[in-house]
């Protein structure tokens, strides 16, 4: 067996999510090669070669891969994938965008968001917003997989000494071009890797009221998240969304403020180690998953919490 892990990066650093996909590959067994496709991505290749357990790093450094457009990147994956039994990427918007395209070109099924490796051909993946876990067995000769990062520890990002092999290939399809990216405030703690997350829901009533959560989050070194209802209501941008169709996270502490606990929200946070719910509706479903529930008006409780920390 041989695994190929598609590295997610910004041409400077290896994305943290990739380290979790490497761990999934380790559990599958066999050699692990990495594919770094980008433009002027030398630093990424160097860092990738240090990841523990990696045999070799293939680097396609070319302008056509600069912005990781799915159409171009998929053509490269299609050329490199034969010869591997498993091709993996993290189940981030990067992996979820390109992997199905490459899978279809290879005429292989994709196994989305695995949470457990049972054997080299059998995997567990959540369905129905995590309300059911399906164990699936693949009959494809190349298994195309995206990995739900929270269920696999990060591989060590040092200790390895893989060889770096420049490769060429893939095509410039000319189908799409990158225009711009509006990135969230970099001063804030990253939601997907934060140890503590403070999230607000529709109960927050406005985007301005999220300032209360930011204040608590600053004291705890926490990230701020939100429910789909808060995003739908326009309180906060979508990249804060935690849930079935947003980010799936598992911090040590998740504080849900003014969140009722819809099925699709629980799907994104119920793996958290400790869950706190603050809500004025004692019947809210969020209390069924909370380790500590506080039935209270959030506009009184949150400032009090802020003072108490």
């Amino acid at each position: 067996m041989a695994n190929l892990v598609i590295v997610e990066h910004d041409n400077n650093e290896v994305g943290a999510a990739t380290l979790h996909a490497v761990t999934a590959a380790q559990q599958i067994g066999g050699d692990i090669d990495l594919l770094v496709a980008g433009e002027n991505c030398g630093p990424v290749a160097e860092a990738a070669a240090k990841i523990a357990g990696v045999s070799s790093v293939k680097v396609a450094d070319d302008a056509k891969f600069g912005h990781h457009l799915a159409e171009n990147l998929a053509t490269l994956i299609v050329e490199v994938a034969p010869g591997y039994s498993h091709v993996l990427a993290s189940a981030t918007t990067f992996g979820k965008n390109v992997m199905p395209r490459a899978s279809a070109l290879l005429d292989k099924a994709q196994i989305s968001e695995i949470v457990e490796v049972k054997s080299p051909d059998t995997f567990v993946r959540p369905i129905y917003a995590g309300n059911a876990l399906a164990t699936v067995q693949s009959s494809d000769d190349i298994k195309m997989i995206t990995v739900r990062t929270i269920k696999f520890e990060a591989a060590a990002d040092e200790g390895g000494s893989a060889g770096v092999e420049p490769i060429s290939g893939g095509s410039d399809t000319g189908l799409s071009s990158w225009v711009s990216q509006a990135v969230s405030d970099n001063d804030q703690v990253d939601l997907t890797s934060a140890k503590i997350v403070v999230s607000g829901g529709r109960g927050m009533q406005s985007g301005d009221n999220f300032a209360m959560l930011h204040s608590v989050a600053d004291k705890l070194g926490a990230a701020v998240g939100a429910s789909r209802a808060a995003v739908d209501s326009g309180f906060v941008p979508n990249e804060l969304q935690v849930g079935q169709t947003g980010k799936v996270i598992a911090p040590d502490l998740y504080i849900a403020v003014g969140i009722s606990g819809a099925i699709q929200h629980l799907a994104g946070m119920k793996e958290s180690k400790v869950i706190v719910a603050i809500n004025n509706d004692s019947e809210a479903p969020i209390f069924q998953v909370a380790d500590y529930g506080l039935v209270a008006d959030l506009f009184e409780a949150v400032p009090e919490l802020d003072t108490a920390l």
Partner: protein
């Protein structure tokens, strides 16, 4: 321009999925089914493109068994011009669905395919990307804004880090994210009108495609539940427990 909107019939998002006792799957007998919410976003966008004079005809298509027609009728009631049901009782995987939809898109000569970014039942998030690959068209996933001008479209995508804007050549396959639009409500006269709109049915077998499943589901189980928690009476008690009992702050 013709637009094909792909839709899926799924368990209503407000209904909690129940795993069957024999662990063969999720129990869908006698539960409320609905159009996948993201597919509604996709259809709504198509309707707005038609209202904006960019599209002339909207075809809504789905692959599935008997009651799939209900979901397509809902699409017609929202405003699609006609519907195509590719009929099969088998549960096809996204790759097979993409192969079927490719044929439909080519036969109908559409210039844009809109789909939901993800179906909320199997949470695969694959079909639009696969269809785009098989057609050899441009791909724009997780769209929150779509502007089409001639043979180019400028699309804003919801990505993990924020918003990414790309330009794609038409024809294209695009998948809708939740902030793309607010789907309209269907009024009773629209439901009545939808009954008279054309609905084509194509037998899956007549397409001559390899739609065999590559994955076999060995079992479907319920995840482990969380142990019951406690209700605290005050903020100070909460902070005390987080510090001394859970030791997380």
């Amino acid at each position: 321009m013709k637009i094909l909107v792909c839709v899926k019939r799924v368990l209503d998002p407000q209904v909690k999925a129940r795993v069957k006792a024999d662990e063969s799957g999720v129990d869908l007998a006698n539960v409320k089914m609905t159009m996948n919410p993201f597919c509604e976003n996709a259809l709504e966008e198509a309707l707005r493109l038609r209202e904006g004079g960019i599209a002339e005809e909207i075809i809504v298509a789905s692959v599935g068994g008997g009651k799939t027609e209900e979901t397509l009728r809902h699409g017609l009631a929202m405003g699609a011009d006609r519907a195509i049901q590719v009929v099969t009782e088998d549960a096809l995987e996204p790759l097979a669905i993409a192969k079927v939809l490719k044929q439909v898109a080519e036969q109908e000569g559409v210039a844009l395919v809109l789909a939901g970014k993800q179906a909320i039942d199997d949470d695969s998030n694959q079909t639009a990307q696969m269809l785009s690959a098989l057609l050899g068209w441009s791909q724009a996933t997780y769209c929150s804004e779509i502007k089409i001008e001639g043979d180019q479209a400028t699309v804003t995508r919801e990505v993990d880090a924020g918003l990414e804007t790309i330009q794609v050549k038409m024809p294209a396959v695009m998948s809708a994210d939740l902030r793309l639009n607010e789907p309209r409500y269907v009024k009773l006269p629209d439901v009545m009108k939808a009954k008279r709109k054309p609905m084509d049915k194509i037998e899956l077998d007549s397409l001559g495609l390899d739609t065999a499943n590559r994955l076999s589901t060995l079992k479907v189980e319920e995840p482990e539940g969380r142990a019951a928690g406690v209700i605290v009476n005050s903020v100070s008690e909460l902070v005390e427990k987080l510090r001394n009992e859970a030791k997380v702050i």
